[in-house]
Every structure is written in C-alpha cells, then in structure tokens.
Symmetry: C2
Subunit: 210 residues, 2 copies
Amino acid sequence: MLTLYDCSTAPSPRRARMTLAEKGIAHETVEIDLRKGEQMSESYRKINPGCTVPALQTEDGHVMTENAEILAYLEAEYPDTPLTGTTPMEKAAIAKWNWKMEMEGLLAIAEALRNASPAMKDRALPGPRNYVQIPELAERGQKKIAAFFEDLDARLQTSEYVAGDSYSVADITATIVVDFAKWVKAAPKEDQTALLAWHKRMQERPSYSL
Amino acid sequence: MLTLYDCSTAPSPRRARMTLAEKGIAHETVEIDLRKGEQMSESYRKINPGCTVPALQTEDGHVMTENAEILAYLEAEYPDTPLTGTTPMEKAAIAKWNWKMEMEGLLAIAEALRNASPAMKDRALPGPRNYVQIPELAERGQKKIAAFFEDLDARLQTSEYVAGDSYSVADITATIVVDFAKWVKAAPKEDQTALLAWHKRMQERPSYSL
C-alpha cells in the first residue's frame, strides 16, 4: 500500500492528499508536524533527506517528493478517475490551467509569505540553501494574488471548472490557492461571485475537508 | 498541418520547436520577430491575443500558447517518441526533473534578466500587467542560477540524462536553461565537467541547432 507523509495544516501536502482522495486510492498516512519541526528528525530524513512534505512512498520503498512527480505517477499507475484529462485537447487545457494556478497563484502566495513572515527570515525560498527576504517581493506577491483572483473570477464566469467542463487537478491547485491566500490575509473580493460560487462547490466535495 | 508561431532567437518558443523536432512532427513555421515587436501587430493579435510566442495552431484553428499545454497536447496526439516517459516511474521522474528545470533554472534566469535589463523597466513579469523591477531579485536570480548549475552537475555525475537513462523533455528544458543563462552572463563553471559533457552531447542532437 502507498504511504503518504503528510502535514494536515500545510498547503503543499494537501495537493497530494486531495489527489489521492479524488482518485479514491487507498493509502496509509503518517503525519509529520511541521510546526514541531518533525520534518527535520533523523527518522524522517531517512524517508526524505530533503526534509519536505509531501512524500509518497510505494510499497517497494520508492519515495516521491514533488507534487508534479506524485501526480504523474498516480495518473499513470491509477488511470481511473483521470485528473489530467483524457483527450489530447483536455490534457492540453488542464496542463495550461494547472501551470497558471501554480505560477500565478501558489508562487505569488509563497512570495508574499516567505518574504514577509518573521519566522522565515533567511528562508525566503524552500530548499537546502538560505536566501534573505526581499520585502518588495512580498508586496509584489500581494499584487499578483489580487490579479490572480481577478483573472480566475473572469475565467469561472464562462467555465464551470478551472480547466473546462470537468473537475481536474487545476481545481485542486486553485482550491489550495484560495485557502492558502488566507495565510497572507488575501481573499477573493465580494463581487468576484463566479470565483466564490466555484469555491463553495469545491467545499462540498468530500476531498475538501480531508 | 500544425503551425508554430516561433521566434528563432527566444528561449520560450525554442522549447516548443525542440519538442516538435525531437518527436519528428511535420509543421509549418511562422517567424514572429520579437525584436521588431511583431508580436504586438494586429495580425498576430488575431492568432494570440496574449501577444506571446510560442503559439501552436492546429489545422482546425485551435491555438495553444503555454509550453505546458503544447507539450501535453503533442505527447497525447503524437505518442511516438515519448518525451514524458512510458512507465509510471519514468513519467514521475521526468515530471519531477522538468519541474526543477523550470522552477530552479528558467525562473531564476527570468528573474535575473527581467529585474535588471533596462529594456524591461516596468516589465519585470510577463503578461498584460506591468510590474516594476526589483534589483535584489535580479541578484538573487544570479545566486539561484549558480546553485542550479551546481545541483545539475551533481545530478549528471550519476545520470546520463537529466531525468534518468533516456532523453526527455527535462533535457530540452535544461538545454535551454544553459543557453539562456548567457543572456545574464551566467555559465557552468569549468570544473562542472558532467554538466559540460552533457551539454556537448545535447549540441550534437539535430534538434539543438534548429
């Protein structure tokens, strides 16, 4: 059985958790509490020397640590309930929109958070090297988040789901963007009604509250 | 037949061009000279209102404008000579390494270039909105490029290609990172011999000089 090394409060492992839930893939979960620094423990370093979550371990011990990697594996190994499309045109649209959710949404929030949070001094980028915070980048991140919500609301005025007529990984990523934005006190505006209605529908899915 | 709207001197459309070449897909090419501002012309706006290259147009008039979108389409529609792997484990590894090439390589160079070039004042990010340059971000981009070359050299000391035993889209992206780095006066160090040897092999492929 698959094992997901997860942290129930963090946005990045939530992407893998929601992917597993939407596809209905049985797995075990091991909680790694980032607030207690459990990702730095000797025992977790043996699983993922990069000290990040998520990590997805297969039954024969192979460990995957990037969301792009985990998604590609799960889509290929468990092709039922596809989240990256079936036809070439669907696959293209979902790849496009998921990329936009990552670059224009997740990245903007990460910039706003990591360049402003006192707890992340010298940790403005993830990974093994330290980088100092750039306050202007935190400000720019906030502008980008506002632009992102504006664009996503416009998109959802004419599309039921982020990438088209069906639920896809782009909806997972976008859901996490909207919820993660609260960490930097950002949220959709009240008049972005298409975005708010879509988010309400996402909250009704069983995968949302997991 | 497919039509690629290309610019022979720019890194982003080169990703689509090399993908088409490696897969041996027949197509027509229309050159859009970014230095002459041809992407802003009325005629090109009708193809791609976003005014960017690459744009890939299908015979029935559908236009794709993001590299992730173009790659997903070409892999699904032309499955021969796969560039994103065949088995679930290959697909996972290639998705991981291509993501790293994009986030740690291409993004670092874009930050170094767009936040320092006088020609890109107020154009520190692509897209329809203007963002002012952040000089500290250009500096950080240079540090990230150096770290990227160090990590990629370490990887290629134990792997023939970026994502494993076979050529993949991760090699296309990495090739473009190495060549694009020259735009910001960055290059692998002389002692990064595994990276330099790999780049020499990439230059020998017919897709390189196209």
